[in-house]
Symmetry: C2
Subunit: 283 residues, 2 copies
């Protein structure tokens, strides 16, 4: 299947599921439920939930089976964007081409909306995966992994180092930010899909490496787009140059794709997704 | 046992467990792990985790068995205080007799610390309750209940209505705030202890009613202490008078205690805790 066709179809599936899983905008108190929907729709590329699905499919699972977990990961991603955009953190007025949550709904509601999405993500994982033949112990496993991946030594830890506002970040700090701020959730997305679809340990190891490599590649591409934005940002391209960034990114994508060999044709979409990341590198 | 002796003993048990369950202050990145400990220690009365334990004991369970869940509830409570104190929300500079998290660590770290505590609370429930003979499906049940109790139609919903900053709140709004902003977590604490200790449906129903009633009573007492603090706050005593508050609170405590009849002597601590709430009403 063509990558664009695949991405469009999966995105639609995720958008429908999200609309179903989150409370209606009219639910009391309406201001927060409106804000939750405002932040979620229309969404971005739904890259992370699509990875959950593609990873499950690579080990013979079905999209339907992992939709609640995929949506949970999109809620987590959205919560992290809302809190990152806050005036006290990155102070971004725009997100996905419209006013960021705090610009639209006020800072207090934005903080609480992020909190609510994070909370709902855990409810979502417990509520829906059991129906699809996933064991209770697997559900618990997923919740634990997710909480670790997005906690103070994971995604939040990466954000903490990112906002140090240093004149010059060390290479170690930049790598820590990349591995954790964006990398951990991307890796968790790939692992979640694989675990829910019953991947064996060898395949799970390969997909974990795949997730780690594309997570880093994804962030390097993002950095290359933002290179002029802020001088003191811990930006890979700004720090190590565009040429070194491109080479590093290509190496990561190559490594990611090599890990897909055991999956044969079933790994094709993950391969195309990795190639798609490389194609986004600005010329 | 004397109430004070009981509370002191249980508080020490909880403090020790918390110190063990959360990452060391030196864990990388240190600024957030220091902030997590700063907000957690020294804590308040540990009222909510003590309720988890006392509720488990009322149905024949052991404190040790429910400690991880009790600590998870204290993390949730602490996260909610940190976010409530933020300049954009209640703008409180002091908490538990020292500078609030954002005054001490800065706003960005305070936001992320709240996020990290909320996230860790879910990890804690999955990580520790299985060892104590609690089934996986019960762990999932607890996680789901907790996420609902503290979500956009629970604790966060109550906070959303609380910050409407209206000239005059309706009775319905004030009751909604009480039931959800403080009540839902207190009720969840009581239910969590009971469910983990294997309460039968009849006893769980009684303890749920107990939790609901003391949650409301607790907030009415708090409001009676804060009555002069802010004119536009949705304060029960300010709105309905101190006499009506006292009567309502006494009625709630009476109802709570009545629900303990089937527990006999085992319910004595919960009874004393309810009486202790009534004694805190300012004269």
């Amino acid at each position: 299947m063509n990558l664009q066709t695949y991405l469009t179809g999966r995105k639609e599936m995720i958008d429908r599921a999200l609309a179903k899983f989150i409370p209606p905008a009219s639910a009391y108190p309406a201001e927060i439920h409106r804000a939750m929907r405002y932040s979620l729709f229309p969404g971005g590329k739904r890259f992370r939930p699509i990875l959950v699905i593609a990873s499950a499919e690579a080990v013979g699972g079905k999209a339907r089976q992992v939709l609640p977990a995929a949506c949970a990961i999109e809620l987590i991603h959205t919560y992290s964007l809302i809190h990152d955009d806050l005036p006290a953190v990155d102070n971004d007025d725009y997100r996905r081409g419209k006013p960021s949550a705090h610009r639209k709904c006020g800072e207090a509601i934005a903080i609480l909306t992020g909190d609510a999405l994070l909370t709902l993500s855990f409810a979502l994982i417990t509520r829906n995966t059991q129906r699809n033949g996933v064991s209770d112990s697997t559900v618990i496993h997923i919740i634990r992994e997710m909480a670790d991946a997005i906690g103070s030594s994971g995604m939040i830890g990466g954000q903490v180092v990112d906002i140090r506002r240093k004149k010059k970040y060390t290479r170690k700090e930049i790598e820590y930010i990349h591995a954790h701020k964006t990398g951990d959730l991307i890796k968790a997305a790939v692992r979640t899909g694989a675990i829910l679809a019953g991947a064996n340990p060898a395949k799970l190891r390969n997909l974990t490496e795949y997730g780690k490599n594309i997570g880093l590649a994804f962030q390097i591409v993002d950095d290359a787009h933002d290179v002029d934005e802020e001088k003191n940002a811990p930006n890979y391209a700004a720090r190590f140059g565009k040429k070194a960034s491109l080479e590093k990114m290509q190496d990561l994508v190559r490594k990611a794709i090599m890990k897909l060999t055991p999956f044969g044709e079933k790994g094709d979409m993950l391969k195309q997704i990795a190639e798609g990341i490389a194609l986004r590198f600005p010329s």
